[in-house]
Amino acid sequence: MTRSGAWKSVMNVLMFSLTGLCTLFTIGTLLFILGYLVSHGASALNWAFFTKLPVPVGEIGGGMANAIVGSAKVLLLATLIGVPIGFLGGVYLNEYAGAAAAFVIRYATDLLNGVPSIVIGIVVYTLVVHPMGHFSTVSGGVALGIMMIPIAVRSTEEFLHAVPNSLREAATALGASKWKTIVTVVVPAAITGIITGTMLDLARVAGETAPLLFTALNNQFWSAGWSHPTATLPVMIFAYAIAPYDDWHRQAWAAGFVLLMFVLAINITARFILSRASYAPRGMV
């Protein structure tokens, strides 16, 4: 009795310490990355970074204005492609699909989510870049848009699922047809959550680099319109970081810092919005 009691308390202390240490390590890693980026990136940041084009090799200074705009264009396009498809797919999944169909759709969506981003890059390269004959903003948008679909589907599904069935019944009992119930009651009840999910989805693909290497490629200058190669922040980080110039390394850190702040800002905003949503799945807020 006493022995087993002692053993129990030893195991308790041991497990408590082990799990606690791993948690500390997780938080520590995040803090380390943040700290490292802030110390290297923030110091490298200046006004020129946001306003100037990159300068030729050998010159000091310049900025990544074209990459910032390029990223914005690619992400806008990705959102316009990925979000409607993902949203409507999510609506179908939660509101119309039977149990078997829902299982298949969910499974397929998760598989798509698991496809390595570089593979998506190759596919888009084959289907869009190759027929067009050159790299372009559009192809970058398509690649990231495809990457946004699975999360858009699943987050839409989850937020729709959190809308109590009694609301659907109430609308149905008032004479609303199924689609009218969805449009006028279910989606409005879930819209805050769906918007948040979209924002988090956007934040996730904002840092994708691999698919852009095959699609948007890069550009040292402004990219006019949508059908030309364009610079984007992640690809610029990649290109500048592997180059043998200290000033480029400095700028890569700055770009990394900006990207991180963008993602962080979206995350915080999203969670703030979500905390005011009518219905949200447990654990999301």
Binding site: G98, P164, S166, L167, R168, E169, A170, A171, T172, A173, L174, G175, A176, S177, K180, T184, V185, P188, A189, S278, Y279
Partner: protein, 287 residues
Amino acid sequence: MDPSSGDLAKAVDARTPLPGNHSPADTPGGIGSDQMKVQTMKLKASNVNFFYGGFHALHEINLQFSANKITALIGPSGCGKSTFLRSLNRLHETIRGARLEGTIVLDNENILAMNASALRRRVGMVFQRPNPFPKSIFDNIAYGPEINGMGNHQHVAELVEQSLIRAALWEEVKDKLHQSAYGLSGGQQQRLCIARALAVNPEVLLLDEPCSALDPIGTAKIEELLFTLKDQCTIVIVTHNMQQAARVADYTGFFLMGKLIEFDDTKKIYTTPGKKETEDYITGRFG
């Protein structure tokens, strides 16, 4: 053409004697009162069988609901009373694998042949837990009239006010119509849901354990409300609370294991039930 004249003709056709036997006290003197007590039947269910996939949930239900009366359906959990209630406005159709056999007639019209939306506009429903939409109080009530295209904004606003008055909620919410319905208490939310159902002027109001989530004061207000609504529509209420059925209902039906065991005057059910199962259930000697 005046639509009400058509309704009247149907209503006259639907006149049939009341179910059950009536106490002689209702007909003073007894001798000479040869006029049979007649009652307009609003809803008639005949030989209703209900299946959830392979599960036979309701067996040969025959039940009639008198116009402008309150009928309570009682019985233990899983006896089929809610299933039956939901088949009265075909809400069961939203459930996969649910199947209804038999006929249900609303004013001589088979509801199974009607457009579902049109039927549900005529047969409204209030649910177990208050389920207001995450919208303003005004928008909650206006929802039904708006999706059913019932007139312009001015008319809808009038309907909202009328419905809230009918649901005895107007005085409490008239100054905060554009605030969220979620700011109301549970009892107020349930009355809001009743007002929402009333806004499309239903002829029949189905209530599925409407007070189960409310405190005694909220419950008393809803019950009082039912008495005032009786003049305007036919009410069917499913309840677990037998005293509630005794208090509010004119007629009571007792369901057990998917069968309608007994249906009669509430007074008769609670003083001299005809079936032993009913007696055992209402006196708490069940099972």
